[in-house]
């Protein structure tokens, strides 16, 4: 910069000879504005690092407390217990899926009847409450009012019965009977209409009938469930004792921090009296080191008992595994059972390894900084604000972001590139003038509006489609949550289509027209020219477009915050492609959701900044690669 300044100075006016002029001041002003973007970028990096880097020491201390207080020891047994509970719940789900699947006709009939009944009560509920709980209407003078209310109620009732919900599994007579019984129903009635009650009974009878052959399976499940009780109770006892130790340790940490603040204040204080006072305060705040050894010894004495219980559970589990049926008849039940059977060997190996882990565990093992680092990068849990222990593992968030991006890109890439080829190569000028502005306008739609559409419109439509009988072959249907990875992915696809489209169209436009002309002169058809000449020639540009679209999808916040379902859990891949229909959380969403609620400077607050750093690095990497391809395309 300095060399530029001096080279521009000319001899002549005395100001200019002195190397300082009005013109140069202006020039310097503009140069400093240009430098502003460098300043902003540096500030972004500096402040992300400033707030984020403190995370790792803080998290290390958290993990150390986790170990010293013995929470880690309890978690060895606890994790196995949780796995046991999950297996039990899988078996139970398989069992009920089998029973309910076999009595599906009765189930649907009772569900439809009660849905119709519930919709009716929802609609007339408020007016009905008015009649029943209106003390003014009870008094004698208000007879007119009571009549008005009744009249009102009847009107509401007729309105509610005008369009009752459809009930495809009920016969017409049953439906008529149900509607008539609702119409004749006095406002003060509380019991279910006769048909609803009858259908419920019918369903219970069917359940009992179909449960009878599965009696053996039921016993296996119950036995397996009760096998975990002993381990459960010892874990509960240990949990109580370690939580107390942990609280003591945390209080001591806080006192120590206060003391350091006081000492720092004392060393900065000039007035000797005041300094003495601060030092005395600091001395008083010197916390008694909490006694962790005694409760720890008590905990360690339980090692043999834990090992014994684990071995017992293992024997019971192996026995149960041999007894559960190989397969069931209903498709849902089959799928759940096979998931349970797949998870079972993993569970047994875990149980097998547990005694070794329990015996090898030492509360005195040091926790190096690298542990905090690895626990962040490879941790499968992001648990915050819990009473037990906070974990900051980025995997569930990163996997959620990636799965959403996968859905979005697998829709957006083919669609937007086909559109780019069509508009660039086949469309008439008039079509171009129609298509381009509309696609550009999609880009201008604010993301929060798209998210809103996703919540109120698209999610509902998707759920309605997913319960249709015609689509039951799709894995994951019917969906449990209307806000899930797929919903978010579809909306993000709509968002990234304009980006990819306009960049890819630019890339196709940049192909020299001589290429296309030469190809057509050699007798190639329009389609051949497009696919064999234009696309290969603009391949780098198209790749860059896709990468930039990917960067946009990963960095998008509002749509995923509103639509992805915000459940912090790695999706259950045992359901195959159905995993894409589960809710999830994302890197961007977690920052937007939690930053407003965390205390400044806490480990959690810093963890969010580290997520920000990861996001920043990933997006920067993607963009750098994209620009590499753009530059290659230019050459």
């Amino acid at each position: 910069m300095a060399s530029e300044k001096s080279s521009n100075a000319k001899t002549g006016h005395k100001f200019q000879r002195s190397g300082f002029s009005y013109e140069q001041l202006i020039r310097f002003f503009f140069a400093s504005n240009a430098g502003l973007s460098i300043v902003i970028l540096t500030l972004i990096i500096a402040f992300l690092l400033k707030e984020g880097l403190g995370f790792f020491p803080g998290y290390r201390r958290d993990l150390e407390t986790y170990r010293i207080a013995g929470l880690e020891f309890v978690d060895i047994s606890r994790n196995n217990l949780t796995a046991h509970e999950q297996l039990t719940s899988l078996l139970n789900r398989a069992y009920y899926a089998e029973v309910n699947g076999k009595s599906s006709r009765e189930l649907k009939r009772t569900e439809e009847a009660s849905a119709l009944y519930n919709a009716f009560t929802d609609q007339v509920g408020p007016t009905r409450d008015l009649i029943l709980n209106n003390p003014q209407a009870e008094t004698d003078g208000n007879a007119g009012m009571k009549a008005a209310l009744l009249n009102n109620y009847e009107k509401q009732r007729e309105k509610a019965l005008q369009k009752p919900l459809s009930t495809p599994h009920l016969t017409n007579e049953e439906r008529q009977q149900l509607i008539e019984s609702l119409r004749a129903r006095p406002p003060e009635a509380t019991d279910d209409p006769p048909l609803v009650a009858a259908l419920a009974q019918e369903f219970v009878a069917a359940q009992q009938k179909h449960a009878a052959p599965l009696q053996e399976f039921r016993t296996v499940i119950d036995d397996f469930e009760s096998a975990g009780f002993d381990l459960g109770s010892i874990v509960m006892e240990m949990t109580e004792s370690v939580t107390v130790t942990k609280e003591q340790l945390q209080t001591a940490d806080i006192l120590e921090k206060d003391r350091k603040t006081l000492l720092a204040a004392a060393s900065g204080e000039k007035d000797p009296v005041e300094r003495e006072r601060l030092l005395a305060d600091a001395h008083a705040a010197l916390a008694d080191k909490p006694d962790v050894e005694t409760p720890m010894q008590a905990l360690l004495e339980r090692k043999p008992e834990c090992v014994r219980l684990h071995e017992e559970l293992k024997t019971a589990s192996s026995a149960a595994f041999d007894k559960i049926p190989q397969s069931l008849t209903e498709s849902d039940a089959k799928r759940i059972l096979s998931a349970a059977r797949k998870a079972w060997p993993v569970f047994i190996t875990d149980l097998d390894m547990a005694p070794g882990k329990i015996n090898a565990w030492k509360h005195t093992d040091p926790v190096p900084l690298s542990d905090a680092f690895m626990s962040f990068l490879t941790g499968k849990k992001w648990v915050t604000g819990g009473e037990w222990q906070d974990f900051y593992g980025i995997l569930p968030l990163a996997i959620g972001s990636l799965m959403i991006a996968m859905i979005a890109l697998s829709i957006a890439i083919p669609v937007s590139i086909s559109a780019a080829i069509y508009v660039n190569h086949f469309a008439k000028p008039r079509e171009q003038a129609l298509v381009k502005p509309i696609i550009e306008f999609i880009q201008a739609i604010p993301s929060v509006v798209l998210g809103f559409v996703g919540i109120l419109v698209f999610g509902t439509i998707l759920r309605e489609i997913s319960v249709m009988d015609a689509f039951q072959w799709v894995p994951g249907f019917p969906i449990e949550e209307r806000l899930n990875i797929f919903t978010a992915g579809c909306l993000l696809a709509l968002m990234s289509i304009p980006t990819i489209f306009s960049l890819a169209e630019d890339a196709l436009n940049n192909v020299p027209s001589a290429y296309a002309e030469a190809s057509e002169a050699l007798g190639a058809s329009h389609v051949q020219t497009a696919f064999r000449v234009m696309i290969p020639a603009s391949f780098s540009g198209i790749l860059a477009a896709i990468l930039l679209g990917f960067g946009r999808v990963i960095g998008e916040t509002m749509v995923v915050l509103l639509v992805a379902g915000n459940r912090i859990k790695i999706p259950d891949f045992s359901e195959g492609l159905g995993a894409f229909f589960q809710p999830s959380h994302t890197l961007t969403g977690i920052i937007a959701q939690e930053l407003g609620e965390v205390p400044l400077g806490s480990v959690h607050y810093r963890a969010l900044f580290v997520v920000g750093i990861v996001l920043f690095a990933v997006v920067l990497g993607i963009n750098a690669t994209a620009h590499h391809f753009v530059n290659r395309a230019k050459k």
């Binding site: 020039r27 504005n33 992300l48 069509y422 201008a444 739609i445 407003g596 996001l615």
Partner: protein, 375 residues
């Protein structure tokens, strides 16, 4: 001699149907996007229209656009008539009917009244951000287009602009929060405890304290301005470069200085282009939610930003409601029901109309500009 007629293949060429098929497939995909987009708008317009349009003159629900945002109270009176009243009218009702009992009362936060507060907040945020970004962005673009030669500094500037343009908006939110809300210097006589650095100014106890602007209008404007700076710089540089070199050469040859040349012969001709592209930047700023979530926006506020201030500059340090954040609150934080639909779809429709007007305006202006400015 071969008859030339034989050389010309008769009938349809080979692969004719394949061509047609591929063409149709590509075309249908293209129009599918358009149809989905149009369905989306149609849905919002159909659901939102009852909220802001009315059948009577002036055909627009003025109250929805000009009233403050309030809590909605839904209740039945003793006759079973349903009332939906915003909080202020609800209190009036209670005063007018002393002793009246009400039934089935439900309240819906943020759903009553109008959306004047969020509209005003968004307008202020956008205005502030655009003024800042235009000032710094156009200055930077002038340097890049008019003064700069190849140098490491320019290379670094271009790299920084490129990288800034790709940063996700939520990272700008983190940046704005940690810098503008918590760290920028202010002059005060009572430095806060969390101040990073306090420099005494030796006048009446005043000190320069690096404690940030808190969540405020100016913090939000600054964050948004940083975010669109690269867009403005790139667009302005393009418009500046579009002015023919001859203009500059002629001016310089007449003895004008560099700055005179820029001021009289370059800027006036590139200004329309700069303003047109900044219209697009406005749509982007107005629509962003993530950067203002922690730096400026607040879900509920009783007054307009300019009400209840002791001096006019206080508006800069007050929090504001913003339309995109309002929509986020309506969509995510309150349960969806028939009574909240007016607020929800109405706000979205107003917002969408705003964005549509801005972006179509910029498209039209651009087309007009291209037709007019030809040298």
């Amino acid at each position: 001699m071969i008859d030339p007629e034989i050389l010309i293949r008769k009938g349809m060429p080979r692969g004719y149907f394949k061509d047609i098929f591929v063409r149709l497939a590509l075309g249908s995909v293209t129009y599918l996007i358009l149809i989905i987009a149009l369905l989306l708008f149609a849905r919002i317009i159909i659901d939102g229209a009852p909220a802001i349009f009315s059948t009577k003159f002036p055909f627009v629900d003025i109250e929805f656009l000009t009233a403050k945002n309030e809590t909605l109270h839904v209740f039945d009176d003793a006759e079973g008539t349903r009332h939906q009243l915003p909080a202020s009218k609800y209190n009036e009702y209670l005063d007018a009917h002393p002793g009246a009992t009400i039934y089935n009362e439900k309240t819906f936060s943020y759903s009553g009244g109008g959306i004047a507060g969020p509209i005003a907040g968004t307008a202020l945020l956008t205005l502030g951000a655009i003024i800042l970004a235009l000032f710094f962005g156009v200055s930077a673009a002038i340097y890049l287009a008019e003064y700069a030669k190849q140098s490491p500094f320019i290379h670094a500037v271009r790299l920084a602009i490129l990288n800034l343009a790709g940063i996700p908006s939520i990272v700008f939110g983190l940046f704005g929060f940690s810098v503008f809300v918590l760290a920028v210097p202010v002059i005060t006589n009572t430095p806060s405890d969390r101040s990073l650095l306090v420099i005494p100014l030796l006048i009446n106890d005043f000190a320069l304290s690096f404690q940030g602007w808190n969540s405020s209008l100016m913090a939000g404007c600054a964050t948004l301005a940083c975010m669109i700076l690269p867009v403005i710089i790139t667009a302005s540089e393009e418009s500046l470069r579009a002015v023919p070199q001859g203009f500059r050469d002629a001016s310089l040859a007449m003895g004008a200085t560099r700055w005179q040349t820029i001021r009289k012969c370059v800027l006036p001709y590139s200004m329309p282009g700069i303003l047109t592209s900044s219209l697009l930047a406005i749509t982007r700023v107005a629509g962003e939610t993530a950067p203002i979530m922690f730096t400026a926006a607040v879900a509920a506020k009783d007054d307009f930003p300019w009400e209840g201030l002791s001096n006019p500059f206080d508006i800069l340090s007050s929090q504001v409601q913003a339309l995109p954040y309002h929509i986020y609150t309506l969509a995510a934080r309150i349960p969806n029901s028939e009574f909240t639909q007016r607020a929800q779809y109405g706000s979205v429709l107003v917002f969408l109309i705003l964005v549509a007007v801005l972006s179509f305006g910029s498209m039209l202006l651009r087309a007009k500009l291209r037709a007019k400015l030809k040298w």
